[in-house]
Subunit: 151 residues, 4 copies
């Protein structure tokens, strides 16, 4: 999507009330733990979040995408696209409010949160324990996040 | 203020998008640190927040209250009342979004955040280092927080 | 309620996106119709709104107040208190978003909207056709509106 | 832009508090005036809105587009693209909150509002009186609006 739109849309996602709390709280945490540990915390938090807001039983990947997007739409958490490739599944999530409120540098760890949510959803719906959701590349210029589910 | 109003107003402060992230993230943190440590983190975060959003020079307590409320109003963080007593100053903060989004139990540690903000503001405006902001009692039924500045 | 709180809470109700449209649209309408005609339009609109968002069957005035407040709370439209007096019923509505976004002068006509909503609700729940909801006095300093249901 | 994104983004623009007032108020107005008259009212309101929120002096169409988007971004009113063709200028506005809150049928008249805003901005910045902003086609599936400035 064209940068002008993405920039606008991400700007609208900034929540100044929560940035006021989260910015300093995250800085404080990062004076005690490493970025990698924060990412681990975020991933574990995402697994909890996925469990607390489960997907209903789904019979296809399309149904699963629609069910996920029902949750995301209700929460204002953006939109996801699942795509099958030989050997892996790609998960592309756009317009999560994380980057706009936490800031770009925070994405190094905050991307772990959605990684955990998708991990839990795929595990709960029967993906084998050896299938892992992992981020692919960094956050792109508009804050979109790409994960892949693979062995 | 009458409970019916407070209940309504607090309900309006709930942010479901950020509760989705913060609820599980806080649960995850609390599986690693104690409530007391979390409160310390929140207080330190509040000190950072107060430094990043300082009050202008003020010539009276009234001016300071007005300057604080300008910040709170812009952010949607509620409203504060300062009141002088012999031997201490009372700080009463209402309608912070913390309880509505983080939940009642979180107030045991989250109240430390505003404690830190007020500590930093009073220190920056010249309160002696031996004057400490400390919470007085718990959160009341409507989520209001009372602190006192005293030796 | 103390003015400081009411002022703060009303400030938070201002919606700049809709004020941008509604301010000029209302000015334009008022260059064609009188304030009294606008009030009539607003009252008729309120009757439509009450019909589209009806109250469930209620067995008492208390139940009716609770049902009304469920609607208002979900919409962020404030809070109502019903009170019985000999000869009339008082309806006090606080924290409607009308004044904060439309401005104080608009209340001369916009108060007709809630008058219509309550008229329709009382009529639908069996109040006789000779019972009319009418505003009592103007908007008070914090934007609260008082109506009475009486013959 | 892909329909899935547009649908999501438009859904997020729905404001239920203002839809509650505006839906019935517009229905009431349309029981008194024609769609064409409403469109005229909306266009005149847009001219007022453009005058109340003017653009600064601009030296190029690009500057003008940037200045317009500064206003729209601050208000959460979407994003505009100006494009020059031989004989006319195209104005494409996306993500205005009108359709999401007023509903699709209302666009027959509500599109007049932005027509008026752009008319006023171009006139104020020196476009000749014979240059008119007029809508081109209807609202597209995602609520985008296209106008052209031409003789």
């Amino acid at each position: 999507m064209h940068d002008k739109f993405s920039e606008y849309l991400n700007g609208q996602l900034h929540n100044s009330a929560w940035a006021f709390f989260l910015g300093p709280f995250v800085q404080e945490l990062l004076s005690h733990v490493t970025n990698e540990e924060m990412r681990g915390l975020a991933r574990s938090a995402g697994i909890r979040a996925g469990r607390e807001m489960p997907l209903p039983a789904c019979e296809s990947l399309q149904q699963m995408e629609a069910a996920a997007n029902d949750h995301w739409s209700r929460l204002g958490w953006g939109i996801v696209t699942f795509q099958e490739y030989s050997g892996h599944l790609s998960i592309e999530h756009r317009f999560a409010p994380l980057r706009a409120t936490l800031g770009e540098p925070a994405m190094a760890w905050a991307a772990g949160f959605l990684e955990g949510v998708y991990q839990e959803w795929f595990t709960m719906l029967g993906a084998g324990r050896d299938l892992l959701v992992r981020q692919e590349g960094g956050t792109d210029s508009y804050g979109g996040l790409v994960y892949r589910l693979a062995r």
